[in-house]
Amino acid sequence: GQQVMQIPQYQHVQEGEDFTTYCNSSTTLSNIQWYKQRPGGHPVFLIQLVKSGEVKKQKRLTFQFGEAKKNSSLHITATQTTDVGTYFCAGRGDSWGKFQFGAGTQVVVTP
């Protein structure tokens, strides 16, 4: 079955630094989504990528979808303390299928 792997599981970042989290699927995806879960909160949708090679930006966040639609990345520049939380990717095998979540990357930011 479809598996989505995400690395790293933990990222300790100094404020102002950049970091990237990566997501890889064992199968081709219809689309991939990214969610952010703040400590004690529930996951909140950030973005969806659908097209091969797609790149989307949200302020300091850059999301990419691989050409083969099997991998994705989230890059955050100039990390701020508000970026603290766990970032999950979630892949969908087809447009109406279930979402398979990665393990998540827990981000800790030190001032």
Binding site: F88, F99, A103, Q106
Partner: protein, 114 residues
């Protein structure tokens, strides 16, 4: 967007008892899911709640342990039956928005089983 009301937000239960978690959505939704999230872990899909028919369970989850109801397009319940400490976790209901694009989550139910 969809607003989801999930309750209870937390509970402490004795082993062998059952707890029913409710999820109310402010609009009609086709797809509703139940997830489990253990501390520091990812979200594991328990089942898809189907309106008017039996829920579709993922591998490792069975109806006898996690019975689900979905009487209409805005409401669902998940029961955790015959609980043991291993069931201690956060349980989240989730729906797909009208555009079938993104998941909206309830605030979660933190369950502790003693």
């Amino acid at each position: 967007s969809a607003v989801i009301s999930q309750k209870p937000s937390r509970d402490i239960c004795q082993r062998g008892t059952s707890l029913t978690i409710q999820c109310q959505v402010d609009s009609q939704v086709t797809m509703m899911f139940w997830y489990r999230q253990q501390p520091g872990q990812s979200l594991t899909l328990i089942a898809t709640a189907n309106q008017g028919s039996e829920a579709t369970y993922e591998s490792g989850f069975v109806i006898d342990k996690f019975p689900i109801s979905r009487p209409n397009l805005t409401f669902s319940t998940l029961t955790v039956s015959n609980m043991s400490p291993e069931d201690s976790s956060i349980y989240l209901c989730s729906v797909v928005g009208a555009t079938n694009e993104k998941l909206f989550f309830g605030s979660g139910t933190q369950l502790s089983v003693l």
